[in-house]
Amino acid sequence: MRKAVTAIVLIALLITLVAMILPLTFGSPLMSDMDDYFIRFGQEQTGNNNECTAVVFDYRGFDTIGESTVLFTAVIGTGLMFRRLFGGEEVEDE
């Protein structure tokens, strides 16, 4: 019973994914107005030859600030779990 339900769910997901990719064509993006603007004016506005860096650090800087914060929070969380050997005090919360 459980295996049958799992198989049905997986087949439904497969059909959904195939239906999602059917209208797409590789090599011709549907909308590229924003990226054409970045490629055309990115050098004059930000002075970067590397447009990816221009998008990451200038046009979409808020994304990067969230990304840095996520990385920082993950490191802090990992440290909270393993603080006992890495210089932290002994905390027993059993």
């Binding site: 004016f41 930000t46 030859n49 590397n50 860096t53 808020f62 779990m81 050997l85």
Partner: protein
């Protein structure tokens, strides 16, 4: 590990460090950037940890250095973005690009050989993020390793 591996790690660690800093510093004209360069430097730290034992490495690196690097990187990144308020510009405005001076050589549209003194605030943010990723990834490696060693010690005590 053996003496040969330690010697190779001693030679390779500065090379990896310089290569990572090169990727960070040239992030605005060649492929690369802060995250990638920081990851390369963290790979060098992982190489040293593999070559030597965990207890030796933890004596050299220290507790606070990597965490300080991480915090300074994140605060520097937000600080560079906040400096735009002093110029009366919105948050994350590129106030250095095209002004002349530091990182401010104007660039025209089209392919060019690449000039290091361009990019505005982007190279500064690259450096800040590179330092942050350096500290963060090294800290993650060290934390996971410390957890595994703690577990091994407990098993030895229990058996």
């Amino acid at each position: 590990m053996s003496k040969l591996v330690r010697f190779a790690a001693d030679i390779l660690y500065p090379v990896v460090l310089i290569f990572g800093l090169y990727i960070v510093a040239h992030g605005h004209i060649t492929p690369g950037g802060g995250f990638q360069g920081g990851a390369v430097i963290a790979t060098g730290v992982a190489l040293v940890i593999v070559a030597y034992s965990y207890k030796e490495v933890i004596g050299w690196i220290g507790k606070g250095g990597l965490m300080a690097r991480e915090v300074i990187g994140l605060m520097g990144f937000i600080g560079v973005a906040l400096f735009a308020f002093l110029f009366g510009m919105p948050f994350f405005y590129n106030y250095l690009a095209g002004q002349g001076g530091l990182f401010g050589v104007p660039v025209a549209f089209g392919p060019n050989p690449g000039e290091l003194n361009t990019g505005g605030t982007v190279p500064l943010m690259n450096f800040a993020v590179g330092i942050e990723v350096w500290g963060g990834l090294s800290l993650v490696i060290l934390y996971l390793l410390s957890g595994l060693i703690e577990k091994k010690d407990q098993e030895e005590e229990g058996s």
